[in-house]
Symmetry: C2
Subunit: 405 residues, 2 copies
């Protein structure tokens, strides 16, 4: 069984759009043991598309295309497919009615171009589009089923998961892989690696370790559900203090869950991160029960007047100092009356660095009112990277701080 | 002159990584009139890569590859290139020394795998890497130059712009296209469209209008610099109140520039956006001279105790109300002692909506102390989309508010 993806659209070859569809499709097929062998961008060129359909349909069992299903003149996927397979192009009544009812609901008048969108190869199979106007369709040619989906990611994703994937799974007889991602914080990749090696993991299970953004992720995959689950449990249990969850859990989500579990609240004082840490935490639905708020104290006057950092500290040690981070954390905790607080103050760059206080120097404070700890960090990278690393590190530090109590 | 891009890495065909490199390369080549004819993902498979190098080198003038230059066993681009061209693989002293000095600086001990990374085709041309350890390299084969770059986007981008693009421009004799993007706020796409049609733009100049995120962008491209500039000026001048700048200017950048120009300061009170607006503005280097700070008042206690929204307003109208947005804007302006202030309060979802106050309902307030205006919005989309649309709309509203004074 072999699968290929063609992303259709001249804009992809001009670099004005990044193709995220192919990765989504490939990733979801992989969860069913389906392997994509070719991904290729194709411009809106009829001769090229027709010749690729004819050539690849002799080589692949499944050809998936995205793009070129819309109402404008450069949407030619259906036309190319009909020509490749020697089929006529006909107004497909079901596709037309679907489109018409979508447009009616939105109060759009149907124009001639819209009809063009419903001209599909005769005898094609249809795939529903719950999100947009253009239905998907497929035709058999040589050994392949050529399945055409819209290019709009939201529409494609919904159609692929609900309609196309089940069709492919049935045709190729794919089996769902057990697929577990384990997330760990504040531990070295090598420590987990040593433990995993000691398990002598069976060839039936694939195990990958990825590190980045302060997290280590162990990925386990295989057809044998029990075996994958068995290894997952062993690895989780070996590092109980570092394990934060399965799936796509983010440190911010873990922090929110941890605080909920303990019935505690938190607030932040952010300087160089300018609200990024707050943004990360409030991105988690339900954060409102534990996150009270924050002060973005960009100007020193705000540190002094709102967070009550003393003028003495600001004059003697400066805004980017251990002392200031200490006072900011305690200041915001008091102001917002929370159980915990975090402070971040540093130099994100690209300007503003000195020899003593270089770009990337960031102090992060954590407090529970009784104890306040400040950590000095020097982060590499661009302004945006320094900010991101600061916010992520702060999450990691507060999780450690709360967990070790 | 024909160009092709091969993105090398099994992770691309497994969908665990989205290829953003190809779009970056294609987009930059387009600015020099260079057209990419093929973009293809290739797995770490020696036979496949070698056969593609041999086949495509007869068809294309330039083959660009990204990925597979690192120190691990699955980094095989150099080996494949040597084999395709019938060259031996040798330790490249210059590439090795570059790598060694990078690793020394980072305090990393050089291991055997690292040497593997500097085994390059004999007689290859080198391209400097200012950001990472792996230098780029190229070899001539048949009619093509095959140019291999790292897959890490930061490294690839730097190398492409500084080293590879000038080489391609020289080889293919490309000419820089005049390339102007005009950004407009608070205007309908159709109003600009009508004006542009009236200009009867010459065939020498390509003109595209894109709308989204509250902005309209008019893109003008062509070889004839004077002509492109001439149209740009006409279009800018037709909408002086809406034009915010050329290039990749963001509304947040425009706001910072506008405030700097007027010598004024600003602060924010954010509820549902949770710091996103502050994060956008502080992402602009130099924002500190006009942005004092903000209060993320997620919990009602913060609205009451820090921003001094009266308990009466919170109890009678609720936190998501015109009255609350009004009081939040005035409260933060007073607290932070700035010339202007913005407030945002709403329901980002996915839960928390009611019939009267549905998910997506967001009140945005702007004030200069004398006048306070509150705008009611209902945004569609996911939690993250509602938040993003709220923050972007707030920028647009305050820009209008300040500009119309």
């Amino acid at each position: 069984m072999s699968i290929c993806i063609l992303s259709i659209g001249s804009e992809l070859l001009e670099g004005s759009v990044i193709d995220s569809n192919s990765a989504f499709i490939a990733n979801n097929l992989k969860r069913w043991g389906g392997k994509v062998e070719l991904i290729r961008m194709v411009s809106d060129n009829k001769d090229e598309i027709v010749s690729l359909f004819q050539k690849y349909s002799k080589k692949f069992d499944i050809i998936l295309t995205t793009g070129g299903l819309g109402p404008t003149f450069d949407d030619i996927t259906a036309e190319c497919l009909a020509e490749s397979a020697g089929l006529s192009l006909e107004l497909n009544e079901k596709a037309y009615n679907h489109m018409a009812s979508c447009l009616n609901r939105a109060g759009v008048t149907i124009r001639q171009e819209h009809k063009h969108q419903s001209m599909l190869p005769a005898t094609c199979r249809l795939f529903n589009n719950n999100v947009g106007t253009a239905m998907g369709f497929s035709v058999s040619l040589n050994k392949a089923d050529i399945i055409c989906m819209p290019g709009v990611p939201l529409e494609m994703k919904d159609m692929f998961i609900k309609e196309v994937l089940p069709f492919i799974v049935g045709k190729l007889g794919l089996k769902e892989q057990s697929y577990i991602d384990l997330h760990f914080l504040s531990i070295a990749e090598s420590d987990i690696d040593v433990f995993i090696r000691s398990l002598n993991i069976s060839n039936e299970v694939q195990c990958i370790i990825n590190a980045g953004k302060g997290q280590v992720v162990v990925k386990l995959r295989g057809e044998n559900k029990e075996l994958v689950e068995d290894y997952a449990l062993k690895i989780e249990k070996a590092f109980p203090k570092n394990f934060i969850g399965r799936g796509d859990i983010l440190p911010a989500e873990y922090l929110v869950n941890l605080l909920k579990e303990k019935g505690k609240t938190i607030s932040f004082a952010e300087s160089c991160t300018g609200g990024m840490l707050s943004e990360m935490v409030t991105d988690i639905s339900g954060a409102s029960s534990v996150f009270y708020g924050s002060v973005v104290s960009y100007d020193n006057s705000i540190k002094e007047n709102v967070l009550h950092v003393s003028a003495d500290i600001l004059n003697t040690f400066g805004a980017v100092s251990e002392e200031c981070a200490h006072a900011m954390a305690e200041g915001v905790k008091k102001l917002m009356n929370t159980d915990y607080a975090i402070s971040i103050t540093g130099i994100a760059g690209p300007t503003g660095g000195t020899k003593d206080k270089p770009v990337g120097l960031v102090y992060i404070g954590v407090t529970d009112g009784e104890n306040t700890k400040v950590y000095k960090n020097i982060f590499n990278g661009s302004r945006q990277q320094v900010r991101l690393r600061s916010a992520t590190k702060a999450l990691q530090l507060i999780i450690d701080f709360i967990s070790n109590k």
